[in-house]
Amino acid sequence: MNNKNKKISIHIAKRPPLPAKTVTLLYIFAIFLALCFGGIFILCLGVNPFKFFAKVFTGSLQSKLARVALMRIIMPLFITSIGVSVAFKMKFWNTGAEGQFIMGAVFACWAAFTFENLPQPIMLLLMAVSAIIGGGLFGMVTAFFKCKFGTNETLLTLMFNYIALYIVQLLRDGIWRDPAAGGFPKIAQLPENAWVYQLGGIDMTWVICIILYIIANIYFSKTKQGYEISVVGDSQNTARYAGMDVNKIVMRTMFISSAICALAGMFQVAGDGTSHTLTTGIASGIGFTAITVAWLGKLNPTGIMAVSVLFGILEKGCGVAKSTFNLSPAVADILQGIILFVILGFDFVITYKIVFDKKNANAEEKKGENA
């Protein structure tokens, strides 16, 4: 028998679907693994990673002030991620959350500046409605082109982010320029009746988060619209076959998706964290982070909640830890990147398995059997 080709080879094969429990455990392991990789990086900087992560965790929760700051990071991130996930469920790659967030803030400000003397509850409601409609339409425009001409939505929504950003700059330097700022280009603070209510020491945005969490769960799994989103996301042909108006569903869903992102922007600008002021840095990457949060959370509200909290702790905690260990605040970005890479790569383990080819061993066995 010629065994010249004897070599052990490795190849990958799809594995049968794993039970949900195993998948959850694997993801928890993945996060642990990601922290290990992050730890190695921290170690390379000459900092004890255990102390570092301990500081990250305690630092983000140590005081009331820290906890408030932590919630300020989590809340807009969670709302925006839910918004993104609505479109992603339909396999519509809305990378424009950043811009929709910004436009939400812009439209909210417009309402506040235009009707400045309304009583607070009506004012807030009006701002929310204005953000939802304005921001929703801003996102829906991209869906329109996608439906009409098949324009690549990933790239188009991406461009809209920058358009939104420079609209804020345009307003800042132009019609909304605060004359009281004395030559310094800035937009005036919102009037006090346009500030978000405080509840439990922080913006009441967290109530919105909880409501949104519940609604999103029901919307995805129980409603006709949620069902339509799943079918369209699975196959547009099937949706058409089922008599669904695919274009209408795509536009409607994109409206909802960007309206939620815009709502996050409204609460951001009317909240404490920004001193109730619209700046060009209003979103500062939340829209992009939300995309990764939504993806890591498997487009599931509970998963998104968990990942938002994790990212919040990481960002806030790194902010605290960097001064303790004298590191750049950018360390949070790097750690976030590392965690993303590890978990993205970990999807592989869930879908595929690696097979070590023991072909020749088998051949030997076979010979034995034949003999």
Partner: protein
């Protein structure tokens, strides 16, 4: 006339990092990988290039370093997307987060170690000098032949990539992989290696674009936020150039023109009376224009019948045993 010449000159200068980024992303996308992490790659290259230029005073080493840092980013992307078959969009975004953080983290360390400024020798090397003879041609000499050395590098790379795709067998194989990886696989082309090699090369070219930004645009001083969206414009420019690096040369020129127009608008306004309205247009409009135009190009190119020139498999991962 001088205003126009200066404007054209500045447009080329501003378009060059975009040309690097676009050429790199074209090579990447031709292999079927839609790498949205160009911004991150450029940041990594910007740091890698600046750091070595600052430490060694050697431009050649600096560019090699920038390419290697870009490659490092592309390697992370490739491993996740090609070997581990992760979602391309999200991986690209993660790469942007990582690359941006990477540059500002190490850039911060650089700043803390004293203000990082390139040496006289480096700035001299990178300065704009007319090429003998050619540079003396009126107008054209100033517009085309009086640039810093990296401008020519970008154009040469773009032309090489163009010729590579068109005339060489590896270039044709790359096309086959990007169009139909299953067919390429059946031909006996190693799909994974082809994707790896070209995504890495693409990353290296993007990295050099980053170095251009940190070395030239920064006037020799490191700035943490230097790339500032030019990676995203490069992604857009790929579409504008319909996946041809030769067309990208002209595309980057046009985009470069828009980015410099904001500073030049006043010159035009004062030189030509009928353009006086230009100075009244707010700055934000000029900054916004490239993005508006790219959005327009995206829409218009999708309206054309016959579909886009995007490689057919771009955005999806290849798994041989997929049934």
């Amino acid at each position: 006339m001088n205003t126009i010449v200066n404007f054209m000159f500045a447009a080329i200068k501003a378009g060059t990092p975009l040309l690097f980024g676009t050429t790199g992303e074209i090579v990447t996308q031709k292999s079927g990988n839609m790498n949205l992490g160009v911004e991150g790659l450029m940041y990594m290259g910007a740091f890698g290039g600046f750091f070595i230029a600052y430490k060694t005073d050697n431009l050649f080493l600096a560019m090699i370093s920038a390419a290697l840092f870009g490659m490092l980013g592309a390697l992370i992307y490739s491993f996740l997307v090609i070997t581990l078959k992760a979602n391309q969009n999200v991986t690209g975004l993660a790469l942007t987060t990582f690359g941006t953080g990477f540059a500002s983290f190490f850039g911060e360390m650089l700043i803390e170690g004293g203000s990082p400024k390139l040496s006289q020798k480096m700035t001299e090397l990178l300065s704009e000098k007319p090429i003998p003879v050619l540079g003396e041609i009126p107008f054209i000499g100033k517009i085309l032949f009086s640039h810093n050395i990296l401008v020519y590098l970008a154009i040469v790379i773009a032309l090489i990539v163009w010729a590579y795709m068109r005339f060489t067998r590896p270039g044709m194989k790359l096309k086959a992989v990007g169009e139909n990886p299953a067919a390429a696989d059946a031909m006996g082309i190693n799909v994974d290696i082809t994707k790896y090699v070209h995504t890495l090369i693409g990353g290296a070219i993007c990295g050099m674009g980053g170095a251009y930004i940190s070395l030239i645009n920064g006037n020799g001083i490191w700035n943490n936020g230097c790339v500032n969206g030019q990676g995203w414009i490069s992604v857009a420019l790929v579409i504008f150039a319909s996946w041809s690096s030769a067309k990208a040369i002209f595309g980057s020129l046009i985009f470069g023109a828009f980015t410099v127009f904001q500073v030049r608008a006043n010159d035009f306004a004062s030189e030509f009376a009928f353009l006086s309205f230009l100075s009244k247009i707010p700055n934000a409009i000029y900054v916004m224009l490239p993005f508006v135009i790219t959005a327009g190009v995206l829409i218009v190119s999708s309206m054309r019948s016959g579909g886009s020139d995007q490689p057919a498999s771009c955005g999806t991962n290849y798994y041989r045993e997929e049934r």
